[in-house]
Structures are given as C-alpha cells and as structure tokens.
Symmetry: C2
Subunit: 220 residues, 2 copies
DNA sequence: CTGTCAAGACGTACAGTGTACGGAACCTGA
DNA sequence: TCAGGTTCCGTACACTGTACGTCTTGACAG
C-alpha cells in the first residue's frame, strides 16, 4: 500500500499474496508437488510457517490460488475471427503450453475440481466456444468433455516426470525390457518428448475430425 | 503355506501379501487415497504399522502391488477373433470398468509411471493390439498414446469425486452459478454420471474414426 | 506527544505421517 | 534341547498441516 516502506522496518519485503504465490509456484516447480510444504515455502520467503496462514485459510486454498494463476494465462480465449476449428485448436495448444510451463502444479490442476470463479469463467467461455460449432447443447457438452479427457491425459503424460510422489519401484533393466517387451521398445522412440507435440496434434485433430464425421443423431 | 494354522498360534490370521493388499484396497475405497495410511491399514489388519514393512519395503511398493492387482483384471486382452476395432473398444471399456470398480486407487494408477513387469506386459500386449490395425510402428505408437490420453482423462473425471485430497474451496452458490455461468449450467445435464458412458463411447469412436480418416503420411 | 487499536508476524504445541533400527516371539529342522 | 530364521512389534525421528495465543508495529485520535 505505502509506496515507500518506512525505514524502521525489517529489511525483508513484507508478505503479500503476490509474493507468496510467486514463491509457491517457484518452489513447486523446483521440488515437485510432493516436496512442497508450508514450512519450506515459509523458509523460502524468509518468514515462519504460520504467517502464511494469515493470507490463506489452508494449504488447499493456496493451491487453488495457484491454479487460478495458471488458468489466468488461458484467458481470454482465442478471438472469434479465427473461426471455430482454429480457436479450439489454439485453446488446446494454450492449455498444453500452460501445462509445460507449470509441470509441477499440473498434477494438482488436472486432478482437482475447479470451483473458483475464474476457473468457472474459463470453463463457461470454453463451453460457449465449443457450442458455436455443434448442432445441440448435448453435442457441445459431450464434445467438450471428450476434448477435456484428451487434454487432461496428455498434460499428465507430459508432466508425469515431475510428480516426485511416492518412491518409484525398482525399474525393469533395459536388456530385460528389450527382450520381454518388444512392442514397448519399438514404440519408445515415438514416446520421446520431441515427438509429443506431433502426437498431441494428431490425436486432437483425429478427435475433431471423427466427431464431425459421426452422425449426430446416434447417441449410442 | 501350511494349510492348517497350528493351534497354539494367536487367533488373528497371519499377515500375508494377499491379506494386506485386500485390506489396503478396501481401506482406499473407504477412505480415499488421501485418508490411506500405513497406520490405519495396520489397525484394519489388527497388527502394528511396522509389521507391514516386512512385506513391502515402502508404501510406494505396496501401492504398486495394488496397481498390479487392478491391472491384472485387464489381462488377457480381448481375443483376436473379435477383430481390431472391437478388441480396442472392448479393452477401453474394460479399462473404464476397472476405474469405476476402484475409484479410490485410480488417481494413483493414472498418475504414476507403470514400471512393474505385469504393467509392462499389459502395455506391450496393448501396443501389439494397436499395431495390428496401423500402417506403421509410428502410427501405432501415436494412436496408442492418443487413446491413452483419452482413457486417463476419462477415468480421472469419473473417479474425481473420490480424491478426498486437499480440502475444497468454498464452492460458488447455485444461484450465482446459474446467473454467471449459463453454459456450464446448460451442460451440467450431460455431465451427469448416467451420461458418462455415452460420452465415453462417443469420444472414443470419434477418435478412432478420425484417426483412420486422416492421411497417414502427414506427420504434421 | 501519547494512548488506542487492529493487522500482521510469530512461538508453541498437537496429532498424524512414513519409516529406520533393534529387540522379542515364534516356527522349523537338527 | 537347541540354533537359526521368519514374523512381528516398540520406540524414535524427522516431517507434515494447522489450532491457538502472544507479541510487534504502524496508523491514527486526542
């Protein structure tokens, strides 16, 4: 609020939601979601754990604020001039870029219900976009859901390395993998990070093409 | 191992991987993944926490064993006589049914890398199945991935209520939702549990149809 | 200049977590 | 009877989220 901090104050910057959320995002990307704790966040901020609870009633509320920050990058949606298909593709690509920019947070983001006003705003706008290219509310709702499934799964795959959750089981050694699982071995090349954008677009386009090609009367 | 427990033994059944995993699965479905702890599992088994560590080196290893149990339901894959498309659809429906049978575990299952031999066996067989209907290794790998994205997202959506993770933020009240988010409100009907199987099949078929329709030479 | 007061930061404490380590109880084979 | 190995348990440690009460500090009223 005051532009100049009065000089008697301690040399640490005062706490604020912006500062806390910025540090939290950095900590999550550095340590992973599992390594993120209020105490570590407080240490990074140069304050004590309980001070953070003056701004957020619980860790969950803080994480929801971080989700809002991430979703804010996705608004507004691509402009209407681009046309339906292009807007949808662009929104999907924006989502993917957001996931790759915040791989640590993404697991939480994709896994939890979005209840905040900003998240609902984004959902509502997106539904309006999808509706524009569909013959009915039902078609729009189902296509929205199907695309959402694809986007959630893709984002999780591309950010899974950052989970850092429960300890990993001892992996199968490479030579056993090559011997016993030839199809996995053969496919591994196309699972590499460099290939993921192509797979993402191929799958998204297939979904949209296939959706348009189906007769919309058959609900079964 | 011994068919009859010797009679001097305590009246509690002895620990075993089967008993532990059964109780763990039940506990996870009862309390959710977040409410699952080694101490609670021990209490349910009538033993102490550290006894469980005699069978699993860590909680993560136990969870991996549970994933194996869940994936075991998916093997063998649907028989070859059914034809490619039908087999793929059936395998996808089997996956969905497994998710709905173990909603509490599914979050962990979909979120963590599958490294165990059984999981790799399942992946390898599934890749072989997909390969049978594709023109190249590349096509098969990408289609497999795209289907996997869809399946992971769908399963998460259908089991999200069981997350019970971090506390939920205070939700937007219904009248504000109806006023400010008309598209969400309009679509809600098609998001209901009863509609999910139809959405699932519609999306899956769209993806498969669209994939087949695309020219396989264009990697872009 | 001084007293009041609320907001912000902190200290302490509690219940719960995974799990390392060492010891106790038991079953089995000699 | 005794040795040895398999199970199981008691204790302890580091860490978590967070409830509750206290202290500091800066702004403002008189």
């Amino acid at each position: 609020m005051s532009e100049f901090p009065s000089d008697g104050v301690s040399d640490r910057a005062p706490l604020s939601p912006e500062r806390i959320e910025l540090a939290a995002l950095a900590l999550i990307e550095r340590e992973g979601l599992g390594g993120f704790s209020i105490r570590k966040l407080a240490a990074a901020l140069g304050c004590k754990a309980m001070s953070i609870y003056h701004y957020y009633p619980s860790k969950g509320h803080l994480l929801d604020a971080l989700v809002d920050q991430a979703l804010a990058d996705l608004l507004p949606l691509p402009p209407a001039e681009l046309g339906w298909r292009t807007r949808l593709r662009q929104a999907a690509l924006d989502w993917r870029r957001m996931a790759l920019r915040r791989p640590g947070l993404f697991l939480f983001l994709a896994t939890h219900r979005m209840n905040t006003p900003l998240a609902l705003r984004w959902l509502d706008d997106l539904l309006a976009l999808v509706r524009g290219g569909c013959a009915s509310e039902e078609e729009a709702a189902r296509l929205f859901r199907a695309i959402g499934y694809f986007l959630a799964g893709a984002g999780l795959d591309e950010t899974a390395g950052y989970a850092r959750g429960p300890s990993t089981v001892t992996p199968v050694p490479p030579e056993a993998l090559a011997r016993d699982y030839p199809n996995v071995t053969a496919a591994a090349r196309w699972f590499a990070p460099d290939e993921r954008e192509a797979t993402f677009l191929r799958g998204l386009d297939a979904l949209l093409d296939g959706w348009a090609a189906q007769r919309p009367d058959a609900t079964q």
